[in-house]
Symmetry: C2
Subunit: 236 residues, 2 copies
């Protein structure tokens, strides 16, 4: 019996994810280096920014630079949520064996968080909500910003709070597992922790917070104006 | 060695939570019956409603009944989030041993979801966010509704989306664990599943959805009005 267990263990492919005892029987190593994968991702982001910039120049060239940046941010979010995180959500049960570009990118990222390789319940559910709701809604938000639509600020708050709350839980659960249960999902090299796990997700803490604050202020000032106008009318 | 393990197992208190092999060394049985506990909880809710109603009658007696119901809902949410869920968050590491009213209420509820007894990472993190953020913000929202404050609708969206997203993840992760990993947190009796786990949480799906829709419509109509007015002014 024991020798059978040992044989099964010996037949399992070695993998680079923490904690090392997790079993990933379908694991296939990446063929692209980290530098190539990160460059491809960065190039993809640049293309998304350029296409959005081009669209805005065509549809509303008078748009201010602040608004333009917010529209570009939501275009990037839409693509990442719907396509990249949607890819994870759709393939969550066999991420370790995937060798296309998105699969290799996720395997590279998972060096900092192995939950993306192990069908972790929270990660799959949170990423599915992100892909299905915040992804399409981000594209709507780009349109609402360009069209100066009345739904822009409600959408901006909803998407940004969704991203922020998902991200807070993502960080919090990972920290809880490390502190309380001594389970570490990140490889020991500090590079992966800071450059992948911390930095890549930190954008979705800071920017949503700024966007929520901006939309809350915008809404409050419009409501205050309308209230003041109606009080003024009554006084006349 | 084996006999020591058996001895330790035999010394562990029997508990009524699913899955039964989970170990709760500090478990103490409830002294109140389910009927008494549910009645106490319902009485608490009635007191909160009555106090809020009294406050509104004093501060803004002209308030419409729809607005009054929303204010009473947020007062209830504030109390449940801050005090009841805050109690769980604060005592998460020793819930099974607590015998005060809140402790007994949580142990009764946990018959439908044992994650409240086992320091489950998602449950503790989600409940902590709920207690720390949605709790106090709900009380602010009650004030904003009574005062017809410009921040009312942004707050209503933020709190409601927070509740809704937390609840969706709560349901989704529990379902995922049952379907994918065959882990069932609810006792086999269907009563606990439907009356505690499903019904008690379903309020926080339906009501937040309605409140988000209402605030989004309200904000959009005010923005549309202001836009129309500014277009009208330019045309003059």
């Amino acid at each position: 019996m024991n020798s059978t267990v040992e044989q099964v263990m010996a037949d399992l492919p070695l993998h680079p994810f923490s904690p090392f005892p997790i079993e990933l029987p379908t694991y296939v190593a990446n063929t692209h280096s980290a530098a190539v994968l990160v460059s491809i991702f960065a190039a993809g982001c640049c293309v998304i920014f350029l296409v959005t910039y081009g669209l805005i120049q065509r549809m509303r060239p008078s748009m201010g630079s602040g608004e333009m940046l917010v529209a570009m941010w939501f275009a990037l979010c839409g693509c990442i949520h719907l396509f990249f995180e949607g890819y994870f959500s759709y393939n969550a049960f066999d991420m370790a064996g995937r060798t296309d570009i998105f699969g290799q990118l996720w395997k590279e990222y998972a060096l900092s968080d192995s939950r993306y390789m192990t069908q972790d319940a929270f990660t799959v559910c949170m990423e599915t909500v992100t892909a299905v709701f915040w992804g399409p809604m981000s594209f709507f938000c780009v349109y609402f910003i360009i069209a100066d639509h009345p739904l822009r600020h409600p959408f901006q708050i909803i998407i940004s709070l969704g991203q922020l709350y998902g991200d807070v839980l993502y960080y919090a659960i990972c920290t809880f597992q490390e502190v309380v249960n001594d389970i570490v999902y990140c490889r020991p090299e500090r590079f992966y922790f800071w450059a992948y796990y911390f930095l890549c997700n930190f954008f979705w803490i800071v920017i949503p917070l700024l966007l929520i604050r901006s939309s809350v202020n915008e809404i409050a000032s419009v409501f205050a104006k309308v209230k003041a106008a109606s009080v003024g009318k009554k006084a006349q």
